[in-house]
């Protein structure tokens, strides 16, 4: 049994992927706050914090474990809604 400890990171949104000198990174919105209700009661969120995750390290780890290390939940922001 591989004693790999997975860390699940719940994010509010995916900002995008960036190619930096040290390798590829994912920029994710880790914290957001509802600032207004838009038209048709659509919530509007403001980004409060972003995280930069190196993809290569995650990919290497996950390929050895055969599972994704980071679980991104695009619907998470919906749940945050009051």
């Amino acid at each position: 049994m591989p004693a790999t400890v997975y860390k699940t990171l719940v994010v509010d949104a995916l900002y995008g992927a960036f190619q930096l000198l040290s390798g590829p990174y994912l920029a994710v919105v880790s914290k957001s706050r509802r600032v207004a209700r838009g038209p048709y009661h659509a919530p509007i969120f403001q980004v409060e914090d972003m995280k930069w995750l190196p993809i290569r390290r995650l990919a290497a780890r996950s390929s050895s474990a055969g599972d994704a290390t980071v679980a991104l939940s695009p619907e998470e922001r919906e749940e945050e809604e009051m």
Partner: protein, 377 residues
């Protein structure tokens, strides 16, 4: 490459800073240095994403587009979907743009202002005579000017609203468009991961009016192109993008569900000019480029505005003296050369008209554009 100056670098002797020939010794010196560089770069990115946190996203609502465009896409989707409307309809709202709408004869008011001062030297560049057909291939012109028929009932499908179609987003305000390229390329399967993020400002307020609640929503969208600090970023670029362009939308919501949206845009004066900083309080304005180059740039900019917004009222707020006057006159010449009736131009010398804090004189400006506002609905 053509515009840049290239220089041939003669053979340079590289002087090693490390005297040790040992590979290990070198790497032990270089690695922390490299790590430090990388860490500080990442730190820089982190700080940018933390400090300038005026990034917004709508939950199931495309914040890069104004209400009318969003309504258009919803209306188009629901009219194309046909039978699915009734079941999936989250809300049925009739639109009523009491202030302004872009439908039909609609338009938006453009306030192009540049706070500048002091004299101008025309720069004789090599301008090319570009035909009008060239501009018609501009990406921004391919975008249709969408508007549902006036008074159309727009069905908002709750299911469809969960994911935003990136193809419908306004790329001018879609700040993470490039970063999401790979995700967008993955197709509809990855649609749930596409969150268009807009940079700007959002604030909502409620105010009671005659026993009912009126909701006010202010959305300001900064364009991704040609942003920069005052003086350092001025005028238009070759593609017709102007410095510090922003679209502001004021949405009013009534309790019975009616909505109105008033859209204004602002940007630096759409001709080729610079204002390099100097020791002067107001740096000199330099008008750049040949006449033809300015015509081309102005044409690109204004055609893009007219395509997106319909009729446009351009309000020029700069001074009618010194450098600003020359700049304003250049703007006027371009408007005259452009010669399209949908573009109306008003020069309101804000500092002269409202000097000594006579803000009530703004009424004169409102009177000047009253007919335009009336024609926008």
């Amino acid at each position: 490459m053509s515009g840049h100056r290239r220089a041939r670098v003669p053979v340079v002797a590289l002087t090693p800073t490390l005297t040790s020939r040992s590979r290990r010794a070198r790497s032990s010196w270089c690695l922390p240095c490299l790590l430090l560089t990388l860490c500080s770069y990442l730190q820089l990115l982190r700080e940018i994403s933390e400090t300038s946190s005026f990034f917004y996203a709508g939950g199931g609502y495309d914040l890069t587009n104004c209400l009318q465009r969003n309504d258009y896409h919803a209306w188009k989707a629901s009219s194309a979907g046909g039978s699915g409307d009734a079941a999936g309809a989250e809300a049925t709202r009739s639109r009523s743009g009491s202030v302004s709408r872009m439908a039909g004869a609609g338009g938006s008011s453009v306030t192009s202002s540049g706070s500048v001062a002091s004299s101008a030297a025309a720069d004789g560049g090599h301008g090319r005579h570009a035909s009008h057909h060239r501009f018609d291939t501009d990406a921004c012109l391919e975008a249709e000017r969408p508007a549902p028929p006036v008074g159309a009932v727009v069905h908002r499908d709750a299911g469809a609203a969960a994911a935003v179609d990136p193809a419908h987003c306004d790329e001018r305000f879609f700040w993470n468009r490039r970063a999401l390229n790979a995700v967008v390329a993955a197709g509809p399967r990855a649609r749930g991961f596409v969150t268009p993020i807009m940079n700007g400002f959002v604030e909502a307020a409620h105010c009671p009016v005659a026993e009912s609640e009126v909701g006010l929503l202010l959305i300001s969208r900064r364009a991704c192109t040609r942003q920069g600090t005052r003086f350092n970023m001025r005028g238009a670029d070759a593609e017709g993008n102007v410095a510090n362009y922003a679209e502001s939308e004021q949405i009013t919501t009534l309790e019975d569900g009616r909505l109105s949206s008033f859209v204004q845009v602002r940007g630096s004066i759409p001709v080729l000019w610079e204002q390099p900083v100097s020791l002067k309080y107001t740096p000199r304005v330099l008008l750049k480029g040949a006449e033809a180059a300015n015509h081309a740039v102005f044409g690109r900019h204004m055609r893009c505005q007219l395509t997106r917004y319909g009729a446009v009222t351009a309000v020029n707020l700069i001074d009618k003296k010194k450098d600003q006057q020359r700049l304003g006159e250049a703007y006027e010449r371009e408007v005259a050369a452009f010669g399209r009736p949908e573009l109306r131009y008003v020069w309101f010398d804000f500092h002269a008209e409202c000097k000594n804090m006579q803000w009530q004189n703004l009424r004169r400006l409102v009177d000047l554009v009253a007919n335009d506002f009336a024609s926008y609905g």
